[in-house]
């Protein structure tokens, strides 16, 4: 029972701190671009403001349009509850393994795209079409990452995976280098960041995700934004858990949890830095260059798989 | 294998007749005039009748006399007479069939004789010289008559060829097995008769529908259309 309680707390912590990560990255980017940066907690303000506003819904839409944000947010929360943030072996982590985790995002995306089509605007259709295309290309790459890791650790369950990496001590695996890179690329694509998408613009040619949420307003928009920030954070934590899990609380105790929290915070901050730098140095790709980008990710994943089979198992 | 001069006289007679029958079928192959064709055919029938009679005499089988008479009446007299009447009524009396590669046909005929001899050879073990040759000869006659049917475009000559085949069979039956059972003989004779009559009917049907007796004109029903 206590376990469940802890799990609930961790989940709450997770989604609560998600906007923080977004704000942090934003701040870093501004810093790198010599711009005056908004405060780190700016995202919280935005969310609060959006929740405060009242909702305008297009009259061409149906109940699905209003249901979607809750489903998206619910999926995000559920996903967050599965990923070990500060402590492993919480009961919720058994609800789903990595594959299911990916499926949660797919579910959210499914409803997002439908909602985009609901209003019947050209933008919505455009966004939905592009989003589904890119997602379906990202999926196999992601799976290969998961696959390689799972074959190494013989599990797809995140907590167990963490155990495996911890238990094995620090092992330098050629396959992990490849798949870590692949995971990063996929994460960028999935969370709609540069070079695949640019959340900051409203230009028809550049936007994918934004095109889908054009019609949303008020709390609906807030939920969607929040869900996206959570998603970004989940990918970050996923990366951390799989490849650099050290410091995470193994047995539950106040000290361990504190250490775990600090560790994960540090690691995420660093990841954020990496992301910010990459986004500043890179330019957005044309839509039809994205397949090449994801194909590269896929190839990395496959290389990881091969190097695992050939070099590590023999 | 015994040579000819040790054979009894009637065997020699049969062999002579066999040779003559064979000759007639060659003659059929060579003959181009309608009337000539029919005449030769009649002669062939006559020779058959003679052979039958000779066999009947030598073996003393009564019923062979009957079939000899039948042959004479049917093959030598009635059918030729009927055919000639058709020729006259169809007004093709003086029609001459142009035969392409006449010599070639005759050589092919000769080859066929050799072939049938070769086919009949294995039977030597179980029969006297006479019967073996009889079978060889009759087989030759059958094949030659088929060759006749193949080379002629005139419906009437095809009929003659058809009848000549029957002659060959009959020759085989008479010489090698001394005739078939009576009931069969009669049945065959009846069939031949009916066939002859029906052919007559068809000559006129043909003339009415395609106003000619040229069988090559009968090529409406075909599959390779393109």
């Amino acid at each position: 029972m206590i376990g469940w309680l802890l799990a609930l707390l961790q989940t709450l912590l997770f989604i609560a701190s998600a906007p923080l990560l977004a704000g942090w990255i934003k701040r870093l980017k501004c810093g790198l671009e010599n711009r005056a940066a908004p405060p780190v907690w700016q995202p919280y303000r935005d969310l609060a403001r959006l929740f405060g506003k009242n909702v305008v819904v297009a009259d061409t839409t149906s109940w699905l349009f209003r249901l979607a944000p809750y489903v998206i947010f619910g999926a995000a929360v559920l996903a967050a509850s599965v990923v070990p943030l500060v402590a492993t072996h919480l009961p919720t982590s058994a609800i789903a393994d990595v594959i299911v985790l990916v499926a949660f995002f797919a579910l959210a995306r499914f409803f997002q795209a439908l909602a985009a089509l609901d209003a019947g605007t050209a933008f919505g259709g455009m966004g939905a079409s592009r989003e589904m295309t890119i997602a379906s290309l990202a999926e196999p790459a992601m799976l290969l990452v998961v696959f390689t890791f799972a074959v190494t650790a013989n599990t797809t369950n995140l907590s167990t995976a963490v155990d495996h990496t911890l238990g094995g001590g620090f092992v330098l695996r050629p396959s992990f280098i490849f798949i870590a890179l692949a995971l990063l690329m996929v994460a960028v694509a999935e969370t709609g960041r540069i070079p695949v998408d640019n959340p900051a613009t409203h230009l028809e040619l550049t936007m994918i995700h934004e095109a889908m949420v054009l019609e949303y307003s008020g709390r609906h928009l807030a939920l969607i934004e929040w869900a996206n920030q959570t998603k970004l954070m989940i990918y970050g934590v996923l990366f951390v858990d799989l490849f650099i899990p050290w410091g995470i609380a193994y047995e539950i105790s106040a000290a361990n949890v504190a250490i775990g929290a600090a560790a994960v915070a540090a690691k995420l901050a660093f990841l954020g830095l990496v992301l910010a730098i990459s986004e500043t140095v890179m330019a957005k790709l044309r839509l039809f260059r994205v397949p090449g980008y994801l194909g590269f990710a896929f190839m990395l994943g496959f290389l990881g798989m091969l190097s695992h089979v050939i070099l590590e198992v023999g | 294998m015994q040579s000819l001069d040790f054979l009894p006289l009637y065997d020699q007679g049969i062999l002579v007749l066999a040779a003559l029958v064979l000759f007639t079928s060659f003659a059929l192959l060579g003959q181009t005039r309608m009337f000539g064709l029919i005449t030769v055919f009649a002669w062939q029938g006559g020779l058959l009748a003679a052979t039958t009679a000779l066999v009947a005499y030598s073996t003393g089988q009564r019923h062979l006399y009957v079939s000899a008479a039948l042959t004479l009446g049917l093959k030598a007299l009635f059918i030729p007479w009927m055919l000639k009447r058709f020729v006259i009524r169809l007004g093709i009396r003086h029609e001459v069939e142009v035969l392409g590669r006449h010599a070639l046909v005759l050589i092919a005929g000769a080859a066929l004789v050799v072939f049938s001899y070769y086919v009949a050879l294995p039977i030597v073990r179980l029969s006297t010289l006479v019967t073996r040759n009889a079978i060889a000869v009759s087989l030759a006659i059958v094949l030659l008559s088929m060759l006749l049917m193949i080379t002629r475009r005139q419906a009437l000559s095809q009929v003659v060829g058809f009848m000549a085949i029957e002659n060959g069979l009959f020759f085989a039956a008479v010489v090698s097995t001394f005739g078939m059972p009576m009931v069969v003989e009669l049945g065959i004779a009846f069939d031949v008769l009916v066939a002859a009559v029906l052919f007559g009917v068809f000559f006129f049907q043909l003339r009415d529908t395609i106003d000619s007796l040229d069988v090559d004109r009968l090529s409406r029903l075909t599959e390779n259309v393109d």
């Binding site: 909702v55 439908l114 259709g125 939905a128 079409s129 039809f288 | 075909t222």
Partner: protein
Amino acid sequence: MNLALLAPALAIASTVMGLLVPRAGARGRFAVFGLLGLSGLAALGAGIDGLFAETPRLGQLPLGLPWLSWHLRLDPLSGFFLSLIGLVLVPVSLFGPGYTREFIHGRNAPAVLYVFTGLFVAGMQLVVLADDAFMFMVAWEVMSLASYFLVAFEHQHAANRRAAFLYLLMAHVGALAILLGFGVLAGLGGGFTFDAMRAAPQGIGWASIVFALALTGFGVKAGLVPVHAWLPEAHPAAPSHVSALMSGVMLKVAVYGFVRFAFDLLSVPHWGWGVAALLAGSVSALLGVLYALMQHDLKRLLAYHSVENIGIIFIGLGLSLLFTASGAPLLAALGLVAALYHTVNHALFKALLFLGAGAILHTSHERDMEHMGGLIHRMPHTALCFLVGCISISALPPFNGFVSEWLTFQTFLQVSLLESGALRAILPFAAALLALTGALAAACFVKVFGVVFLGLPRSRNVRHAREVDRGMRAAQACLACLCLLFGVFAVPVVDALAPIAKMLVGADLAHATARGWLWLTPVAPQVASYSAPLVLAGIALAGGIISLTRHRQRRVHPVRRASPWDCGFGGLGARMQYTATAFAMPIRRIFEPVWQIQEQVERTTSDAGGDDERATVIHYALHVDDRLWKLLYEPVARWIHWSARQATRIQTGRIRTYLIHSFLTLLVLLWLIT
């Protein structure tokens, strides 16, 4: 066994009823479909009974050959498929009366429909009950023939006739392959009862031949690439409730036949077979979904998705064969269970989707998605059920499609246990293809639901569509609920499939369900676990809490309705929406080589009314065709025509040539024998 026999008996009864009440009014219609429904219930009951029976139920019918009466057998495998038939048949017979109402005044006698539907169902039920080759073939062909008549039901359209012919032709060819397979088995075992075949000593060579024949024969029926061509033609042609039966059940009967051959009749599988099945499955899955993406005829699209899902099923079967051959019965069981689970799932959601398409067709007489849109406002009930179907087929949690696909992935993850390094390196690639397939399927059904039900109506018929009657709604609702139930209560389902695994590969998944109904742990708890009920609860909870916290605010300022913002471009019209073609365009660009694409844009400038105002009309035409037609089917047809022309040369029509024929034949014959 009597109950099992009751099912086909009732189906045939409905046939007779259909004969007795030609041009039947409502009463006759309900009688016919009522009998079908009863037959479905009987099948369901008998099937479940057979699934859990310790010893297979045997029986015989005084039919068939004098020395070989029809042998019947109801073991877990046939029980499973029998209950599957029943499961789909019941909703379909709910759907039927309403759907066939419009045929009464149509030009085709509905009696034909009733008669052959009954026969069709009876045939399928007898196939799974058959225990000897002769009865199997008879039932199999009855099934094919009856469904042919159903496909050709609306024969005034040339397309339907063509589809029917293609269907029957390919079905026949497939049946011949199966027959040959049986022939080889019977030759080995010296008997036509399945028992004799099982008992037979099978050399690997002959066994492989049999397997190849079975894969071909049942593959044709199941619609594996490249022998799938009939499927996208035939399913749209048939009336929708029949399409639901064909796609939902008939393909499964083909799967049954394959399983019966590969796992039961053939004693020891070779790992090569597994690879073959896996390959066929992967190719079918990927190509199926890619072709589906390019369709804008709703029923055609669904048909292509059948190809895809059959592919997924065969992937599972292939893995199972692979593991059986390499002596890992537990994993073999896992693969088999995954495949069978997906079988039942596909039956459910594909039937649901076809019924939905039928409902739309019934009320709007539209099959072309480009003419639809906004139907969610006109027919909300159908829309909801259809949405459930879409989520399920896109393999999204917590619905049923996801569970089976997840199990398949779990099986894939165990390939590290195989001894062959090559396979270990290649199989992940297949898994990645499967992932790609799943994602593309999701994209495709976003397109379907979005274009058909959302946005603005694109044609008059659709604008005036009305919700369908109670029976048809009930049918869809029933299937939708089943989709959810099979998704949420995965553990009991896996438990139920255990006897089949035990019978076929000698192992069951006790450990998979060891931790109670909440937790599905296919390999081991620490390896992977999934709890569908909690997922459902979690999403509901999270979403629910938020919406409750906003309750007050919603009361203060209610949601305001306004015309869409659309980045400020005003004047939204139906023609400005993304069409199905447009939606799939990026994917078409990316996977271009897969299809045979003809795309032309012609602009005609008509100068109506002077130079200043000349309108430019741009006409855009796009044709996406199946490459396999050119690669496989047309050459065969051409070859047959060529040889036919050659053969007919001997029939010259000139009698002297004929005489030469017989003359030469005689000479040759004489020469031969001496």
